[in-house]
């Protein structure tokens, strides 16, 4: 038990190796999900499982889509400027 506890604690004392590749940007997706779930937990007048999941997924997709569109626009602007 002591070893397990020590192992769990040790995972929080050294950073993970994320790298700076484009895939590391995928770490924003869990954060987007957290924001969507917390926001809907605050805003919905009554929380029922079906309605809550539907609303949270809709907000998650909206945020992700908006960020993707923003990324595409910025990429296009950068491409026009550098070409």
């Amino acid at each position: 038990m002591l070893i397990v506890t020590a192992l769990i604690i040790s995972t929080f004392t050294a950073p993970e190796n994320l790298g700076t590749n484009p895939q590391s940007m995928l770490w924003l997706l869990p954060l987007t999900a957290a924001v969507a779930v917390a926001y809907k937990a605050m805003k919905l007048p009554t929380i029922t499982a079906g309605n809550f999941i539907k609303e949270a997924v809709l907000l998650f997709v909206s945020i992700a889509a908006f960020m993707a569109i923003t990324a595409l626009v910025l990429f296009a602007v950068a491409w026009v400027v550098t070409e």
Partner: protein
């Protein structure tokens, strides 16, 4: 959601409870499902940030503004800050960025929940305008 109390001490108590334990304010207002969701989201987001960047991302000396956002998660973050303040857990680059963003967003989400639970205690209803 029948609870309606404009006593400043009750509102302060709800706000403090929300800060000390994320979601506790909602729990006091008998909004158990909201309390469970908020607690789970804030704690999981914060722990994910610590897992990615290590406890070194909580840095009250070198990253004060991030620390202000992080400590909104709970006063318990101060204990992590006390441990990491000596610089024994250095973290740089992308893990530092992602870890700080996760932990700070967890804190800011909890700040929203604190404000929302105090409003709920004051008005007795959820503010859903602008949704």
């Amino acid at each position: 959601m029948e609870f309606k109390n404009k006593n400043v001490f009750s509102l302060t108590f709800v706000g403090l409870a929300s800060w000390i334990v994320p979601g506790a304010g909602y729990f006091l207002l008998k909004e158990k499902s909201r309390a469970i969701i908020v607690f789970t989201v804030v704690v999981l987001t914060f722990i994910t940030g610590l897992y990615i960047g290590s406890i070194g991302v909580v840095d009250p000396v070198g990253a004060k503004m991030w620390y202000v956002a992080q400590i909104m998660s709970s006063p318990a973050v101060a204990a992590i800050g006390y441990i990491s303040a000596g610089g024994e857990y250095p973290v740089y680059g992308r893990p530092s960025e992602v870890g700080q963003i996760y932990t700070a967003v967890a804190g800011l989400l909890n700040l929203l929940c604190i404000i929302n639970s105090v409003y709920l205690a004051y008005a007795g209803r959820v503010e859903s305008s602008g949704d």
